[in-house]
């Protein structure tokens, strides 16, 4: 279908409702249908691998790549356990995961594969892979989201995955698992009453969706810090998904963007979005932060004080 190493990118929500309760709310159903559409598109693509970046898999020791060829278990979500269990069986491409680690290390990152029986794959990755690749037609790998990583580290991580794709000649579909606005209701709700937590969150989500629709991924990457401040509950240091996605997909604004669904998931903004590399650019922002090629680690600012 296409020679692009990135066949297309998907941005999908982490919460399990489209998988476990698609009929509980028409919005959940629309998200589910959007997932199903993406599943068909993956089937029709030339993708050799699905690479998932999940905001619900934190790591501390650098960046972890899921490498268990038979990742199997029954997962239960911490909050939504009453909605049911999530059995999974995923085929991971251990060779490709190892290649990603090699490439990440060559760019200064700490990285490792994880290949352990019963490893707890996270809710977001399970939801995405179960719906997008139900028969394991294409092998995948999942990359963690390091708790301490900020922009430069995340950009370099994306580039190293790109390096691995170029070197192996594999074609990929990349999947970012993340909410837009991530503020949920802090009390139980009747699913039928679900809505975006606040008008402000909804306004911001819609603005972000405009950028996605315009294919302006690099612009979103440049806006990450603003997005983090405006619509993200401050659980982690930064909103990293757009950095990772932009960097893995080539750092430009030349994509055909399509928002397949945008709905509330217990108050958070859940969208299924597709970005396909294309030609012709719009709305390039001036790149206002360094385009990092190699990660040099902590700057040890604290240890340098007072030394000549």
């Amino acid at each position: 279908m296409s020679d692009e190493i990135i066949q297309f990118g998907l941005y999908v929500p982490p919460h399990p409702h489209p998988l476990l309760a698609p009929d509980a709310n028409p919005g959940y159903k629309r998200l589910r249908e959007a997932y199903d559409q993406c599943k068909d598109r993956i089937e029709k693509s030339d993708a050799d691998i699905i690479i998932v970046y999940s905001t619900t898999w934190p790591s501390i020791i650098g960046h972890q790549f899921q490498a268990n060829p038979n990742s199997e278990w029954v997962h239960v979500d911490d909050d939504f356990h009453y909605m049911g269990s999530m059995p999974y069986s995923f085929t991971m491409d251990s060779e490709f995961a190892a290649r990603c680690v090699e490439k990440a290390e060559s760019r200064g990152l700490q990285a490792r594969t994880v290949n352990y029986d019963a490893f707890p794959i996270d809710t977001g990755s399970i939801t995405a892979l179960s719906l997008l690749n139900p028969d394991n037609r294409i092998p995948s790998t999942i990359v963690s989201s390091n708790m301490y990583a900020n922009r430069s580290e995340t950009i370099v991580l994306g580039k190293s995955i790109r390096d691995a794709l170029i070197e192996t000649g594999k074609k990929a579909v990349v999947v970012v698992v993340s909410s837009l606005s991530n503020r949920m209701f802090t009390e139980p709700i009747d699913p039928i009453d679900d809505r975006i937590h606040s008008q402000k969150d909804d306004d911001w989500n819609r603005k972000i969706l405009e950028f996605f629709e315009g294919g302006r991924l690099e612009d979103l990457s440049q806006l990450s810090r603003e997005i983090h401040g405006q619509i993200r509950v401050q659980k982690v240091v930064a909103y990293k998904p757009a950095w990772w996605m932009a960097s893995t997909m080539g750092q430009h604004n030349n994509y055909t963007g399509e928002v397949l669904a945008y709905e509330a998931l217990h108050g958070s903004g859940g969208a299924v979005i597709q970005l396909t590399p294309s030609h012709g650019s719009m709305g390039d922002k001036e790149f206002d932060e360094d385009d990092v090629e190699y990660y040099h680690g902590d700057r040890d600012v604290l240890d340098k004080g007072g030394t000549p």
Partner: protein
């Protein structure tokens, strides 16, 4: 029936490294040891607990994170394998534990009556978090007492540290009412570290103690400031500086464990027993215990 009571409350850090270092048969990876200061402290506290008459251990954990209220384990038995998503190389632990569902439900009910959002967790496939398992294994390696795990609601991030503190204190009070009504003797476990800045690299041998140290001096100073207050029995003051402590040391205290425990124990004004302090992959970990009955209190360290 006599009123139930809290017989001991412990701050019990849960770096999986200490279980790994102990080499119990439940854990797959094999180590050459490590982190003795913490482990020997834990061993001593475990020996003390063997001599204390109690019915159930109630654990508050930052690794069962819930956004929609506070959740309680609600089935009599959970058996599975716990693999740490962050340190899977050192923690793959098969567990088989009993839960005191009766007391868990009563705590949930009391918390709900006090205005908190609550839910019982009754999905049999649920995997108990590694924080609970690590703390419980170190405190009672025989696993011969039932436990209850309480999730940590993320209100620090969703609202503010002040809201979290108010909710954790209310939860503690509700739990203590439930304990009194149950007639049971209970050990409370606040499962978390103090300062929580990790190194993001690991030595080839994780237990290589020549590489272990606190992340930086500032974290150490904050930990010591808090431990001094523990020693002096100034828990009100400790809770008062908690928002700043948490911010400066990105500590797991943001989950509210220690505050919950202090709320349940009526804000102790007596010295804590200190069993050890050591860094694990850069984080600061202190084992401490508060014993309400003065004649059972010791000076340990």
């Amino acid at each position: 029936m006599p009123k139930g009571k809290i017989v001991l409350g412990t701050l019990a850090p849960h770096p999986p490294h200490v279980v790994y270092a102990e080499n119990p048969e439940q854990n797959e990876p094999i180590s050459e040891g490590g982190w003795e200061t913490l482990r020997w402290g834990y061993n001593r506290l475990a020996r003390k607990l063997e001599k204390i008459d109690y019915d159930v251990m109630v654990v508050f954990t930052p690794h069962w994170q819930t956004y929609i209220g506070t959740h309680f384990l609600g089935l009599p038995r959970f058996a599975s394998k716990s693999v740490d998503p962050i340190f899977p190389n050192i923690f793959r632990y098969s567990y088989d534990l009993k839960v005191d569902v009766e007391l868990s439900e009563l705590m949930c009910k009391k918390a709900s009556e006090s205005g908190l959002i609550t839910r019982m967790m009754t999905n049999p496939d649920f995997r108990v978090d590694y924080g609970t398992i690590t703390s419980c294994h170190m405190l009672n390696p025989k696993w011969d007492k039932p436990i209850i795990t309480i999730s940590s609601n993320r209100s620090t991030h969703y609202y503010s540290p002040e809201v979290m503190i108010e909710q954790a204190l209310a939860l503690g009070k509700a739990c203590s009412e439930a304990i009194e009504e149950s007639g049971k003797k209970v050990v409370l476990v606040s499962s978390h570290s103090l300062s929580h800045r990790h190194f993001v690299t690991e030595s080839p041998l994780p237990e290589d103690m020549s590489r272990e140290r606190i992340y930086n001096h500032s974290q150490y100073v904050w930990d010591m400031a808090l431990i001094d207050l523990f020693r002096e029995g100034k828990m009100r003051e400790a809770i008062d500086i908690m928002p700043e402590f948490t911010e400066q040391t990105i500590a797991e205290t943001e989950g509210g464990g220690l505050i919950w425990m202090m709320g349940a124990m009526g804000m102790p004004d007596y010295p804590a027993e200190i069993y050890g302090y050591q860094s694990v992959i850069g984080t600061g970990n202190c084992i401490a215990a508060w014993v309400p009955e003065a004649n059972k209190r010791e000076i340990v360290l």
